[in-house]
Symmetry: C2
Subunit: 247 residues, 2 copies
DNA sequence: GAGTTGCGTTCCAGTGGGAGGAACGGACGC
DNA sequence: GCGTCCGTTCCTCCCACTGGAACGCAACTC
C-alpha cells in the first residue's frame, strides 16, 4: 500500500534522531518528489500528528504523536504508575530497576531508575529485546496463556544471544513453569553475557498491557542470595503495581 | 489528503482507550468500508506501527509507535533523564513535581512524581495545556526568543481559564521578563483555580526540546515563603537537567 | 545589488492505485 | 446444524494522488 508506506515513512523519519525536519530532508531520505512529501506533511499537520516548528520553516512531531506513544506503552501511563515502584526497587537493592512492556512479539524498555553504584547496568529507553532471553522477557512470557505460548513458540525461533540463552522450547516451557510457581524470573548472562537480572511480570485483564519490572546489574553481584532477595522484592512490587493498574 | 487522513484516523483510533481493535471496530468508528480499513491495517502492520495482537484476531499499536512517542517527547528519553530531578524536587518539597515539553504551540505533561501529602496535586500524563496560563507554560514561554514570542502571541488568543489568567499580551511580556530575571515562574490559581505552582524551563540548542519542570500543589501551601524556596529548587534542578541534556 | 543556491509552496493533466460492494470461509454460541 | 459476526479476498471502475515543472522567497556570495 503505497500511500500508507509514505505516511509511515514520513512519520518514522522523525525517529531518526533529528527533531526538526524540512520537506527536502524527508524527500531525500525517502526518495520521493518534494511535492508529494509536502502534501503528506501538510495533511499530517492537520491531523495533529505533526506540527510546524515555530519559526524555522520545518516540521516536528505533534501532540497526537505523544498520545500514540503513551497508548502504545500500554495503559494511559504505565510508566508514570510504575515509577514509584521502580524507585523503591532501586533504593532497596542499589541496582538499576527497569520497566518493560510487551509490544507485538518483543518487549520495549519503557523506563529505568539507574542504580546507585559505580558499576551498574544502564539500559536504553525505547530499546527492544526478544522475549526468550533474559529475566524481563521471561517474566512476560510467563504471563502468556498456554495457547498463546504455543503460538509464540511456533512463530519464532529461539535464537541464542549468548552461550547462556535457552534455545530449547521444551526447556523454556519448564523454566516458565518455575517462574510462575516462584513468582519471579532470574537470569545470569543470557542476553548480555556480563549481566544478571530478576524480573516479575504483570498482565491487566484479557486485552490489557502485559509487561515486567526487573532489577538488573553486573553478573558478579547476582549470586544466589541476592537473587532470592531481589526476586522477592520484584515479585512484591509487580503484584502491587498490578493491583493499582486494575483499579 | 484522503489517504493520510485515513492512516491518521486508524492510528489515532488506538488512542481512544481500547488497546486492541478489530477491523470492524475501526471501520465503524471512521465510517469506512471494512475492505479499506483492512488494507490500511495490513500495510501499517508491515511498517511496524501496528502489530497483530497475539492470538485474538485484533490489532494494536506496534514498536514503532513507541519510538514515535519517545521521539515526540523531545530527546531520546527526556523523561528518563529528568526523573531523578523530579524525585529530588518531590523529596525536598513534599509536593508533586511535573515535567512538561513544548509540542507545537502547547505543552504536554510527560511525567510526574506525586507529592507525599494527603492533599496533593495529581496531573494526567499526556494531558495538554496552553502556554499562557500557569507556571509550567510560562516557564516554557520564557525560553522563547523575542521573534518566537511575538509570532506566538500573533497566532494565539490568550483565552482566560480562571479569573487569574493573564489575557493581556503586554502584561504577559512583562511577566515573562521577570521570569527570565528571577530564573523561575510562579502562578497562583491561573490554570486551576485551587492550585499554585513554580516552574523553571530549559531549552536544548536551537532546534532541541523545550520544556519545564514544576513543583505544584494546593493554593494554600503556595504562599510567599514557599514560592521563594521552591522557586530556587526548580531553577537549580532545571539548570542541572539542562547541563546533562546538552552533553 | 545582481547572481546563486536552496528552501517551501503551487499548479495541472494524466493515470494507476485504491475504493467499496459483494461474496467467501472460519469461529463461535444458541 | 443454523445463524451470526468476524476477518479476509476478489474485481471493476474512477477519481484522488502523482510528480515534473515553475514560482516566490530568504539567505548567502562576489
Amino acid at each position: 500500500m503505497k500511500s500508507v508506506d509514505r505516511v509511515s515513512g514520513v512519520l518514522l523519519a522523525f525517529t531518526g534522531g533529528h527533531l526538526v525536519l524540512g520537506v527536502t530532508d524527508i524527500a531525500r531520505e525517502l526518495d520521493l518528489p518534494k511535492s508529494a512529501v509536502h502534501r503528506t506533511l501538510s495533511a499530517l499537520v492537520a491531523t495533529g500528528l505533526l506540527t510546524r516548528d515555530g519559526d524555522t520553516s520545518g516540521y516536528r512531531l505533534g501532540p497526537r504523536a505523544v498520545d500514540l506513544g503513551l497508548a502504545a506503552g500500554g495503559s494511559p501511563d504505565l510508566l508514570a504508575r510504575a515509577l514509584p515502584f521502580l524507585q523503591g526497587l532501586r533504593d532497596e537493592s542499589g541496582e538499576t530497576a527497569t520497566l518493560s512492556a510487551l509490544i507485538g512479539v518483543e518487549r520495549v524498555y519503557l523506563g529505568q531508575v539507574e542504580g546507585a553504584q559505580d558499576v551498574r547496568m544502564t539500559i536504553e529507553v525505547g530499546a527492544r529485546a526478544v522475549l526468550h532471553a533474559g529475566a524481563s522477557g521471561r517474566a512476560i512470557l510467563a504471563q502468556f496463556t498456554a495457547p498463546e505460548l504455543e503460538s509464540y513458540l511456533a512463530r519464532t525461533t529461539l535464537t541464542p544471544l549468548t552461550e547462556g540463552t535457552i534455545t530449547d522450547g521444551t526447556r523454556l516451557r519448564r523454566v516458565l513453569q518455575e517462574v510462575r510457581e516462584r513468582g519471579y524470573a532470574a537470569s545470569r548472562g543470557e542476553r548480555d553475557a556480563s549481566a544478571g537480572a530478576v524480573a516479575a511480570g504483570f498482565r491487566v485483564g484479557v486485552a490489557g498491557p502485559i509487561g515486567s519490572m526487573s532489577i538488573c546489574g553486573p553478573l558478579q553481584r547476582f549470586n544466589g542470595a541476592a537473587v532470592a532477595t531481589y526476586g522477592g522484592l520484584v515479585a512484591a512490587a509487580a503484584a502491587r503495581l498490578l493491583a493499582q493498574l486494575v483499579t
